[in-house]
């Protein structure tokens, strides 16, 4: 059958790109209210930006021998950061061995980036993560393969923050999924345990969990048995994050239509086959965005370990400020670590967007 002739021929759509003046008039000054806002915003920018640029770049001192030289200048003292960056980034890790935490940082970042690669979304992902995390542990602790042993009380700074965040998330995620499935279970014992756990943990701030694990846990242990302080902090972080992961995943499970469960049931799939092959792949895909949101929060929440005296990035920054030769540059230091946190969190955010985009391709509901 030939295509029918149309009554009116197809025409190309008219596109009109507005000239800059027209754009300004329609977008910025369209109504009196908008015009006022535009003028206000421009005024704020004129007030703030040049002063900021002046302080941060134009009048800043990039190298100096002591704090005195820096204080003579009006601008920021980036020389302080240049002087202290090893302390802030790596804490009290032995100076010559600091290549080890550096490599660990790259390893952890590589692990996370690799997990976005769909080709690896098979059962191989687990051994890769276990292998990667073990390599990081070996590098940091040493004592094998000719590396000198470094006790974990000396670890600090960025690698410690990353380790707490990565190990925390890697362990909290499967625990959270199990809790979410348990909460939806029909077996009353399992359901009750999961509900009680989730509601208890969500009811307390992370700081109190850190205190409890750091102070109370040793009281419950038998005489002489001690748990490493870092491990105690990690346990608190994992237990905390798992509750939030559980509720998010539960939302995803609820979003799957009943028909999917029924279709799987009608084929005779067992509960675990149905959950693993049909339900979880769909549910987890739906909740990528809120899950990454939890991970971003956890990354920043690791700074709370300051309270129990673990030398993470934030505490290392505070330590750098205690040097008597360099007093009064707290602004520079906190901007520096804020920038580091921002880089990691923004990257995670972009990562999540890329992941969502990649998964939407070829999968149409």
């Amino acid at each position: 059958m030939s295509k029918p002739t149309l009554l009116s021929p197809t025409r190309a759509p008219t596109t009109a790109t507005p000239t800059p003046l027209v754009w300004i008039r329609t977008q910025l000054f369209s109504t009196p209210g908008n015009a006022l806002l535009t003028i206000l915003s421009v005024w704020l920018l004129i007030m703030a930006v040049p002063a900021l640029l002046d302080w941060a770049f134009l009048q800043a001192k990039y190298s100096a021998q002591s704090g005195q030289e820096c204080r003579e200048v009006e601008g920021a003292c980036w020389a302080f950061i240049a002087e202290k960056h090893r302390l802030i980034l790596f804490g009290t890790y032995p100076y010559e061995q600091q290549w080890r935490p550096l490599v660990s940082v790259f390893l952890l970042v590589a692990l996370v980036l690799m997990s976005a690669w769909r080709r690896l979304w098979t059962i191989w992902l687990f051994p890769i993560w276990i292998g990667g995390l073990t390599a990081v542990a070996l590098l940091m602790w040493g004592g094998v393969f000719g590396l000198t042993f470094v006790e974990n009380t000396l670890w600090g700074g960025l690698p410690l923050t990353l380790i707490l965040a990565t190990f925390g998330v890697a362990l909290a995620f499967p625990l959270g999924v199990v809790l979410a499935l348990g909460r939806r279970s029909e077996l009353p014992a399992i359901k009750t345990i999961c509900v009680v756990y989730i509601e208890l943990i969500r009811g307390v701030p992370l700081i109190s969990l850190l205190f409890m694990s750091s102070v109370m846990l040793p009281l419950f242990l038998p005489e002489g048995v001690t748990i490493d302080k870092l491990l105690r902090a990690l346990i608190a972080i994992v237990l905390f994050a798992a509750a939030y992961v559980a509720e998010t995943v539960r939302g995803g499970l609820q979003a799957i239509s009943k028909g999917q469960y029924e279709g799987a049931d009608s084929l005779g799939l067992s509960y675990w086959q149905k959950t693993r092959l049909i339900i979880l792949p769909q549910a987890l895909k739906i909740v990528i965005a809120p899950l990454v949101g939890i991970f971003i929060s956890m990354f920043k929440d690791t700074s709370l370990v300051v309270i129990i005296g673990i030398f993470d990035l934030t505490l290392a920054a505070k330590a750098a400020l205690t040097d008597p030769a360099w007093q009064g540059f707290s602004m520079e230091v906190y901007i520096f670590i804020a920038a580091i946190y921002f880089i990691f969190c923004y990257s995670m955010s972009k990562y999540s967007q890329a992941l969502e985009k990649r998964l939407a391709v070829g999968q149409q509901h």
């Binding site: 279709g263 049931d265 009608s266 005779g268 799939l269 086959q273 092959l277 769909q282 999968q363």
Partner: protein, 246 residues
Amino acid sequence: MADALIQMHHVNKWFGKFHVLRDINLEVATGERIVICGPSGSGKSTLIRCLNRLEEHQQGDIIIDGMTLTGDIKGVETIRREVGMVFQHFNLFPHLTVLENLTLGPIWVLKTPKAQAEQEAMTYLERVKIPEQANKFPGQLSGGQQQRVAIARSLCMNPKIMLFDEPTSALDPEMVKEVLDVMVGLAEQGGMTMLCVTHEMGFARKVANRVIFMDQGEIIEENDPVSFFDHPQSDRTKLFLSQILH
């Protein structure tokens, strides 16, 4: 029939206080093709969903291929291997390709090796006349094609019984025929026991051994198609037929 494939004895079911199945007694022999019709809310979908325990009956016995249907999960899974179901809204798995949808059951439940499962799946895809869609995702297919994939998916499990829950009700009119043709082909190839809830009376006339009319949870009338459509006994059946046959 003592050795009927499906036996339902005094089956009662409530949704809360609502009595949805009232004292259902039904026996289906092997190879029989049953069409169940009735107004909405009459319990016809609930009845067939009880046969593979997607709904649980509170009273009475359901015996399928000699096995009594109870809450025992292993028994339920065994029965579900024998009973295939085609849903009104297809219920295909959107994150898997058509071929993966078809081979999932055989590989994981029947423990068929992957290559063999794929070969059998392609045979069934050819039977429903869409072998070229094997590597597409369900979202890329039309409604009629999706339903045919759903039928093929159930057939891949080699069930003894096929349940159809209003299979064409969600389809555009021009796609209804292609699905009904597949179902007619299935019936005429012989051997498959089919229970079909549908409003397609032409299909019932062509293929059914028995037509059952349900209203308000009870089986009002059952008869062979000719007697059912031409000489309905009960007033309620007559009313229903006058409403749908115009």
